[in-house]
């Protein structure tokens, strides 16, 4: 088994919360599986208490003078021998010089680029700009987060792009192990920045109203996350117009304590995602899925992946159709047998195809093959 010295260089300085997000967690899962070292190279933006979750990783603080990327290139030049596998995050122009420098100093080294993008963004990338095209060319392995995007990129880039979704690093979720369907309640949960254009929260609010009147049993809608003033006004207006529904809709605000948040996932039977767009499958989806919530989602890029093409969840056509979303929501709420069965099906699906440790193992084989190609036969 080959082991590699690994390095993450983000396109701009990392914040503490990002240590537990995809850009760091997936490389960390790789490090745990086939790394001898992991350097996280960044200009500091403050304290990094979450580093305590990443046992064995080194955070290298770049000097504050000069730009993050200039300092990163200097660091990479000075430590090239300590980096066999370089993790980059996002197809960003900021990486052009960095990738070029690394490849010129370590032609035997491997660059893995996790795209973190959606179709709109990928479509706007300047492929005609030679330095940018050269940067993409210099990446040995590129992965994207949704199958729909992968299909698009094959047509547009005409190069192999792997499908590696935003996944779950199970050691961060010990609470998910003991969850039981019997403990769940008639709760529809959503988590995100409530009221932003992207999250399209009004769709969920009104779809819930349409659903509520169809149901024999009462259901609750819980919308967790910071709330925009515009949405707060809409919500207040909604409550005045529909006073009977008001007690069944809850806005608990932003929850920073993960243990409290996980309690909501544990209690909810359904997780609703009403977004207009997402850059891959959102982290909240993975979290909901490991707690056995059945997902109903608008037609974002990752919808077929999140629901295994509708097998373990429901996809509402488009992103603006209140009736369609309500119809899917109603069908789920009225089908307790499916929800109970899907509790296990969803958890199994997410474990089999979104577990970062399994995905890292897949990447490891691809990295080994790249290494083999470089060796004289």
């Amino acid at each position: 088994m080959n082991k590699y010295r690994m390095c993450i260089i983000p396109p701009y300085p990392l914040e503490n919360v990002q240590l537990l997000k995809d850009r760091v967690i997936f490389p960390y899962a790789c490090f745990c599986l086939f790394g001898t070292s992991l350097q996280i190279v960044t200009q500091s933006t403050g304290d990094y208490p979450y580093l305590s979750y990443l046992d064995g990783a080194d955070l290298i603080s770049l000097p504050q003078q000069g730009s993050h990327m200039e300092n990163a290139i200097r660091y990479l030049s000075e430590h090239k021998e300590e980096i066999d596998l370089l993790f980059l995050f996002g197809a960003r122009g900021e990486y052009i010089d960095l990738a070029l420098t690394y490849k010129s100093l370590r032609p035997d080294g491997i660059i893995y680029l996790k795209l973190d993008t959606n179709i709109d963004w990928a479509n706007a990338l300047p492929l005609y700009h030679k330095p940018f095209a050269d940067f993409l060319q210099s990446c040995d392995i590129i992965s994207c987060e949704t199958r729909r995007l992968q299909s698009f990129l094959y047509k547009k880039w005409r190069r192999p792009v792997e499908y590696i979704p935003n996944g779950v690093y199970y050691p961060l979720y010990p609470e998910a192990a003991g969850v039981r369907f019997e403990d769940k309640e008639n709760i529809i949960l959503t988590v995100g920045r409530i009221g932003t254009f992207q999250k399209n929260s009004l769709l969920l609010l009104y779809a819930f109203a349409l659903t509520f009147v169809e149901l024999k049993e009462p259901w609750e809608l819980v919308m967790v996350g910071s709330v925009t003033p515009e949405f707060q006004a809409d919500y207040d207006d909604f409550c005045k117009r529909f006073p009977l529904l008001a007690p069944h809709i809850h806005l608990p605000g932003n929850i920073t304590d993960k243990k409290v948040l996980y309690q909501y996932y544990k209690r909810a039977k359904i997780f609703a995602l009403s977004s207009r767009a997402e850059g891959g499958s959102p982290n909240v989806f993975s979290e909901a899925a490991i707690f056995g919530c059945t997902v109903v989602t608008t037609e974002v890029d990752a919808a077929p992946d999140m629901t295994d093409n509708g097998r373990v969840g429901r996809i509402s056509v488009g992103t603006e159709d209140f009736d369609a979303f309500a119809k899917e929501l109603t069908a789920l709420c009225q089908n307790p047998v499916y929800l109970a069965h899907n509790f296990e099906a969803m958890r199994t699906y997410i474990k089999e195809f979104f577990d970062y440790e399994r995905l890292a193992d897949r990447l490891r084989i691809l990295v080994d093959l790249q290494m083999q190609k470089r060796r004289p036969s």
């Binding site: 094959y154 005409r158 792009v161 499908y163 399994r358 897949r362 084989i365």
Partner: protein, 325 residues
């Protein structure tokens, strides 16, 4: 660089350097078998071939302002001149490289129509695909700008379109031919002036054989053969994987490697695929093999991974069969 046109001679000039392109013959030129006299009329007074040539050559710089290929156009005009005058058949010329509204083309077409109505210069779009739509061995001359697409397969695709005895003019401002086209440069007559170079070839059997062997059609056929070989190998490997026999890790590595190669070959002929989803189907099979391998290595439940492997391999093999067999 300028084109100096006098009643007796046409030449390219740059500083002190002069490159004579054409001289007006002193005696009647009986190689001119077009309807129009070369430089004098009996009975009527109309524009002669030489006068029209001078007019078109003089127009070239104005039609191609600041064009670094001006010298190439003038050199090619002088090479085309004897061909255009050689018979009174309508001539069919194809031109590839510059934009289709290139001014030089207008000058060429003007002169060709003057000599023989129905003669045509077809300016092709800047895509190597332009040639695959044309019949082989059908045109009298080819003007090919190497700097637009130096890919040997594209050059050979273009060369194949020229009929035996026809003229092939390859031009560049970089003074070199791609190494793979060495055979052509050995056979070609090379004219250089300033930064402009024109390689002139007459189509014959050996040239046609070379073009045929190096054309995109030959490339696709050889790729298709490689794909067939790999597909057969993959069939055996996937069968072995699904047979539940104890296999070494190398089997999975080799399978993945062959799938990667298949994916790359398919992408290299992407423009010609009937089913453009083939590369991604290959990737899906690779992913299924890797998931299955990870499952075996870590002793996971293989039921779903196996189902997906069966599913994606069926899809892959049937699609490959439909495309290539």
């Amino acid at each position: 660089m300028k084109i100096n046109v006098t009643d007796a001679r046409i030449a390219l000039e740059e500083g002190e350097e002069i490159f004579p392109l054409l001289e007006k013959p002193k005696l009647p030129d009986y190689s001119n078998v077009t309807a129009r006299p070369h430089f004098s009329y009996y009975y009527t007074k109309e524009e002669t071939v030489w006068e029209r040539l001078c007019f078109c050559m003089e127009k070239l710089p104005a039609l191609c302002p600041d064009d670094p290929y001006l010298g190439c156009y003038a050199l090619m005009f002088s090479q085309l001149y004897p061909l255009l005058l050689s018979t009174n058949q309508a001539k069919n010329i194809i031109a590839y490289g510059p934009p289709t509204d290139c001014g030089a083309y207008r000058a060429f077409q003007d002169f060709m129509t003057f000599l023989q109505e129905g003669s045509s210069l077809t300016a092709l779009a800047q895509s190597p695909f332009s040639f695959t739509a044309l019949t082989k061995n059908f045109c009298h001359a080819l003007l090919y700008r190497l700097d637009t697409c130096p890919a040997p397969a594209a050059v050979c695709d273009a060369v194949e379109r020229v009929k035996t005895g026809g003229l092939i003019l390859l031009y560049t401002v970089h003074n070199t031919l791609p190494a793979e086209l060495g055979f052509l440069s050995e056979k070609a007559k090379k004219n250089c002036f300033g930064s402009c170079t024109v390689y002139t070839l007459i189509m014959d059997e050996s040239l046609f054989a070379f073009a045929l062997a190096n054309s995109s059609e030959a490339f696709i056929l050889s790729r298709a053969e490689e794909l067939e070989r790999r597909t057969n190998d993959l069939q055996g490997l996937i069968q072995a994987i699904l047979s539940d026999a104890a296999l070494s890790e190398d089997t999975y590595f080799v399978t993945t490697l062959i799938l990667q190669q298949t994916e790359e070959i398919l992408l290299s002929i992407y423009d010609y695929l009937e089913n453009a989803a083939l590369p991604i189907l290959t990737n899906a099979l690779k992913e299924a093999v890797l998931n299955y391998f990870v499952g075996i290595r870590s002793h996971f439940d293989l039921t779903t991974y196996r189902e997906r492997l069966v599913q994606s391999s069926k899809h892959f093999f049937s699609s490959m069969e439909e495309e290539f067999l």
